[in-house]
């Protein structure tokens, strides 16, 4: 078993040795360039907000975001091509940020997801014109009370919340560091850096503002609560190991670290390690929406503006699973006999409960939220495998899942009636008769969620379950397959509803989107089918990127 664990690591080119004096930090700017570009773009976005006239902000913000994200992706590809994903894996910024295969793969996924999400953020064709101006999904002015004089004035003046773009970029930057964080401090800071903008984004819906704000309050309170728990775990781990770097903690756990008498005293107490580890894992499980830390998901997904929901559902999951993988594979493999059974339980509960509650949902966004919970369970099954195959299958699954989710939520923004998006499932009846193309595209996404062959969902599920079974978790796989079957039931039900029931009179209409949302949906379909029809290339890519640096 030790052998298989060790093959997950390569030793960093220059392993940091404890020093008596704090040296001048050495920052490898080139290796951190993807993150720096995104943060730079975000800061630029703030400047745009401060300096440019209101009319030109929208175009400028969209330009800055898209350029920044594209440049970041180019930087990631360049790093990967340079060998940082394999041979030259490295820990940059004095041991704070890892630059290795999983980090680059996940950062690439996050950036691409954010790029597509930026398109849905910028969509301005769906809502009817407000005083002759095109408007997006976000409130004219976030601080005004709906229905008040100020709000009316803001709408008449054509205000729009273009701040969402810098917020998006800050969140993306945080998410990019999160799976690459190589010490507990970076982990915590990046967690907050991506969470705080998301709280705000949740509150900014143009329609159903009260629901949107309620979602933000819930997300914020529970998020803060979970990060307090995580932070307490961090403190305990620090107390146990005397260091916050991942490699250092792992050394202490395996007993290879240099001991001081004081350290020996705390290290003797394993409960510090176990409790601390468990609490940090809880903080991450909250972000991936695993049962029983999932309860914010449906409420927040439903209340948040749909483009934000799509981004949050896709990118947060990618970032949080990345961090969870690194924590479990790099820091805590030494106590895997302690956490594996517990994670088994969490995975099973997540798969089963997510799938079961979804069965009786009547709202599309809530349905997708529960489906995302069930999917978190499937991905956890791959995480538990604790093998290179486990890593690569989880990476693949995350890439596949994030695009399906993004596409599905983008479709949800199209189906509208007088009150905005018509998310109640009864309103979707007969959609296939009225708008066959939109219904067909949504059906593709649902089939991918259900894991039907020739979609990315099948390839992902197959890879994850295979890794889990090889890791000895056959019962887990059986339960996973059963809950997949339950889950397939409600996906298929929606398809049946769309295609085989009579359209309601006065039902919702399907808005014709601009090229932005069309591109987003097309990207979702393309990735779904590409990863479904020819998964091998991407599986190989994920396989090559599955070695953590330590």
């Amino acid at each position: 078993m030790t052998g298989t664990i060790h093959s997950l690591w390569t030793t960093a080119a220059d392993s940091a040795t404890p020093l008596d004096k704090i040296p001048t930090p050495k920052i490898e700017y080139a290796q951190l360039s993807p993150v720096l570009i995104v943060f730079g773009a975000a800061v630029l976005g703030i400047l745009v907000e401060a300096l440019l006239p209101r009319r030109s902000r929208y175009i400028a913000q969209l330009g800055v975001s898209v350029t920044g994200l594209a440049a970041a992706f180019a930087a990631i590809v360049a790093l990967a091509a340079d060998g940082y994903a394999s041979a030259k894996s490295h820990i940059a910024a004095m041991g704070a940020v890892a630059v290795d295969g999983p980090a680059l793969f996940l950062q690439g996924t996050i950036v691409l997801v954010a790029l597509v999400a930026a398109f849905t953020f910028a969509e301005r064709r769906l809502d009817p014109l407000a005083h002759g101006r095109r408007v997006d999904s976000f409130a004219a002015q976030g601080s005004t009370v709906p229905g008040s004089e100020q709000e009316k004035r803001a709408v008449r003046a054509g205000f729009t919340t273009t701040e969402v773009f810098p917020l998006l970029l800050f969140a993306v930057g945080g998410m990019m560091i999160f799976p690459a964080a190589n010490d507990l401090l970076t982990l915590f800071v990046s967690l907050e850096v991506f969470s705080l903008p998301l709280y705000l984004l949740c509150a900014l819906a143009r329609r159903h503002r009260l629901l949107s704000q309620e979602a933000a309050v819930k997300y914020f309170l529970l998020g803060a609560f979970s990060s307090a728990i995580l932070l307490f775990g961090v403190a305990l781990l620090y107390g146990y190991a005397g260091t916050i770097s991942y490699g250092g903690i792992a050394d202490v756990i395996s007993g290879t670290a240099k001991m001081t008498p004081a350290l020996a005293n705390t290290t003797a107490n394993d409960s510090l390690l176990l409790i601390g580890g468990a609490m940090v894992v809880v903080g991450l499980l909250f972000k991936v929406a695993a049962v029983p830390f999932h309860m914010w998901t449906p409420d927040v997904y439903q209340g948040a503006p749909t483009p934000v929901t799509g981004f949050m559902a896709a990118a947060t999951k990618v970032a949080a699973f990345g961090a969870l993988l690194r924590l479990l594979y790099v820091v805590l493999p030494g106590i895997r006999w302690d956490w594996r059974p517990v994670m088994w339980g969490v995975a099973i509960a997540t798969m089963v409960i997510g799938a079961i509650i979804a069965v009786t949902q009547t709202d599309v966004k809530r349905l997708l939220a529960y489906s995302s919970i069930a999917h978190a369970g499937f991905i956890l099954a791959g995480v538990i495998a604790l093998s290179p195959d486990g890593v690569s299958s989880v990476l693949f699954y995350l890439a596949a899942y994030s695009f399906v989710t993004l596409g599905a939520f983008a479709v949800v923004t199209l189906v509208r009636d007088a009150g905005g998006e018509a998310t109640h499932l009864s309103r979707w009846a007969g959609l296939g008769r009225r708008s066959p193309l939109v219904a067909a595209v949504f059906a593709v996404f649902l089939l991918a969620f259900a894991g039907i062959p020739l979609t990315s969902g099948f390839a992902g599920k197959f890879a994850v379950f295979k890794a889990a079974a090889q890791g000895g978790a056959v019962p887990l796989v059986i339960i996973g397959v059963i809950s997949s079957a339950i889950a397939a039931f409600f996906y298929i039900r929606v398809i049946v509803l769309m295609f085989f029931s009579e359209p309601q009179p006065g039902g919702p209409s399907v808005a014709v989107p601009s090229a932005l949302t069309s591109t987003a949906i097309a990207a979702g379909v393309a990735v779904t089918l590409a990863l479904g029809v020819a998964p091998q290339y991407f599986l190989d890519l994920a396989g090559k990127a599955s070695v953590f640096v330590r």
Partner: protein
């Protein structure tokens, strides 16, 4: 060169894609695109053929691996092609005859508003058929097999506004499903036996499996072959399939698709050689179908259905030959190729006659047409001489060899099979002479055209003037040229193949060949064949040529009436299969409702109930969510600690 194999299939596939996706915009040029890509495919085929001829015999097989289709653990299926002499023969036949029929269709479908779609389907058919013969494994072959079935379904039902065409398409599809089921099970058994789908390894280890398994595989493959090739007991769809446009009948239901079964049996020769029981079954099926088709062909008054009966019978010959093993494979394929020429020519001739006769299909209402459509008369006549095996023409060379090989099987079996084949040759002469005489000779028995409103069975696009006598005329150039080319093939192909045993030497490396020991000598067989030929032809002449033919068919004997109804095949199917099936379904539905649904609904209900109960937790109170998180954390921490304790 091996990359060209993909292009071979790609060209018509591209055409199908362009034509079917392109929409109405392409209506004006669609048929040219279709023809062009079919011709391109033929060109590539010819280039590959030339290349192949230039190589030594043992290096003629080309393989081309495109990509791994489903690589899952030990399960491996590739998209890979194999082009050997057998495939090459088919490629040339398919693309050659296919291109001619594309050209013919330009004229034939000139007035059809859906001509573009028609050419799209034709191209799709070509691509699927090429995939079928070029696949290097059974799974890919199956893809082509199903693609061919789909194209055939679409083309038979092309005039779907005619209820008869829609029904015929459905019938063809359903009957084919039975065969396809056999093939798919055969492929599964193959995989479990040999652990691979690829032809190479399977045939190399063919004898390694147990006799029982080999027999099962062989019989299942035969079932698949019966479906596609319209062999007894799955032959009933072919006659009805003539509801499709005539070029379709010529291309799919005479020259190419129906030969897929013969290809399958020949390709799987290694398996059949190792399973004598299955091989005998192939022979029996072939012999029975041979007689069956011939008898049906004698009784039909519809010119296309008579030709369909003849097709069935001729394919029976091929099956019979393929069932003989190495003695017969080469002759089966040779007959297949010559048959492709003359039967396609005959069908195109029939289409030409219908074109000139207001779309009348009843031969009793033809007569004396030789004066009005000379080119059709001559080409049809040459096809007729070829199919009955007139000495020197194509059919003579291939059919005589099959009869001879049947005798050469030896023993009682040999005598019976040879006798049947010989008798079949006589009946062939009878019914083909009948067709010939009724159509082109005798007095003119034309009738006014039917009113299209009352009779829905009229092919659209052909100008019909209700109440007027037809004005038979020669067909346009685009239709006659393919007929002339095919007539050349009907006359010379067999002879060319037989010079110096060229065809035998060409195919032998793939199929193997052994000379049987015939109890009768070659000249005896030839003489006997000529005798039955003359007798059959003379009988038909005496019956139809020398006496006036009644326009309404006489009641006829019991056998004639049965033969008109396809020897009661449909009635048998209806009583035994449909009724029986209905009873089975009804009882299964009952079981399903009471047992299975009960269990399923019970599960669904309990999941639903559980779901409704679990939902209650999601009450919207953020503090209760926090409690559950705290509880979860406590449980997680406690469980982690507990793991250490135990």
């Amino acid at each position: 060169m091996d990359h060209l194999i993909g292009a071979l299939i790609g060209a018509p596939l591209l055409g199908a894609g362009i034509l079917l996706v392109g929409g109405r915009r392409l209506d004006r040029v669609g048929h040219w695109i279709g023809c062009l890509l079919a011709a391109v495919s033929f060109g590539i085929g010819a280039a590959l053929f030339a290349d192949m001829l230039g190589k030594p015999t043992d290096q003629r097989t080309l393989t081309s691996h495109l990509y791994s289709w489903v690589p899952v653990g030990g399960f491996r299926a590739d998209v890979a092609f194999q082009l050997d002499q057998l495939s090459m023969t088919f490629v040339l036949l398919i693309t050659g005859v296919g291109t001619l029929i594309h050209i013919y269709s330009i004229g034939y479908m000139a007035h059809d508003e859906n001509r573009r779609r028609f050419f799209g389907y034709l191209n799709l058919f070509l691509a699927a058929m090429l995939l079928l013969v070029l696949a290097d494994n059974y799974l890919l072959l199956y893809v082509g097999w199903e693609g061919v079935g789909l194209a055939s379904y679409l083309l038979i039902g092309f005039w779907q506004h005619k209820p008869s065409a829609a029904t015929a398409a459905k019938k063809a599809f359903i009957v084919n499903r039975v065969g396809d089921m056999g093939l798919s099970i055969a492929i599964m058994v193959l995989f479990t036996t040999y652990g691979t789908f690829s032809f190479g390894p399977v045939f190399a280890h063919a004898t390694g499996a147990s006799q029982a398994k080999l027999t099962v595989i062989g019989l299942l493959l035969l079932l698949g072959a019966c479906g596609k090739s319209a062999q007894v007991p799955l032959q009933s769809w072919l006659g009805d399939a003539m509801e499709g446009p005539t070029p379709v009948s010529a291309l799919i239901h005479a020259a190419t698709m129906v030969t897929a079964g013969v290809y399958l049996v020949t390709r799987s020769g290694a398996i059949f050689n190792a399973a004598p029981t299955a091989q005998l079954a192939v022979c029996v099926v072939g012999a029975v179908t041979l007689m069956f088709g011939a008898i049906v062909g004698c009784a039909k008054d519809d010119i296309k259905k008579a030709l369909a009966g003849s097709t069935m019978s001729q394919i029976g010959y091929m099956m019979l030959a393929a069932g003989l093993g190495p003695i017969g494979y080469v002759f089966a394929i040779m007959h297949l190729v010559t048959h492709g020429f003359f039967k396609a020519g005959l069908f195109l001739g029939a289409g030409s006659v219908m074109h000139g006769m207001n779309d009348e299909v009843d031969m009793r209402k033809y007569g004396g047409l030789r004066r009005y459509m000379p080119i059709t008369y001559v080409t049809f006549g040459l096809g007729y001489l070829a199919i009955i095996g007139f000495p020197g023409l194509s059919g003579y060379w291939s059919k005589d060899k099959i009869i001879e090989a049947a005798f050469a099987k030896g023993g009682t079996e040999g005598w019976i099979l040879g006798g049947v084949a010989l008798l079949g040759a006589g009946i062939t002469a009878y019914y083909m002479t009948r067709v010939m005489v009724l159509t082109f000779f005798g007095e003119e028995r034309w009738e006014p055209a039917p009113d299209p409103d009352k009779t829905p069975g009229v092919e659209p696009g052909i100008e019909v003037h209700p109440g007027e006598l037809p004005h038979p005329h020669e067909s346009p150039r685009s239709m006659t040229i393919p007929m002339v080319i095919l007539a050349f093939g009907s006359v010379f192909a067999g002879g060319l193949f037989s010079i110096n045993s060229a065809f035998l030497k060409w195919l032998e490396p793939v199929t193997g060949h052994s000379e049987g020991h015939s109890p009768v000598s070659t000249w005896e067989v030839t003489a006997a064949t000529l005798v039955v030929l003359v007798v059959g032809g003379a009988l038909a002449w005496a019956q139809y040529g020398r006496r006036p033919v009644p326009v309404t068919a006489p009641r006829g004997s019991l056998v004639t009436r049965a033969a008109r109804r396809d020897l009661l095949q449909d009635d048998f199917n209806h009583i035994v299969l449909v009724r029986g099936g209905e009873h089975l379904t009804r009882s299964l539905v009952y079981l399903d409702h009471s047992l299975v649904d009960g269990a399923v609904n019970g599960t669904a209900a309990s999941v639903g109930g559980l779901s409704a109960r679990l939902r209650q937790v999601q009450n919207g109170y953020v503090r209760s969510y926090a409690v559950s998180m705290l509880g979860g954390t406590a449980v997680l921490v406690a469980a982690t600690l507990l793991m250490r304790a135990v």
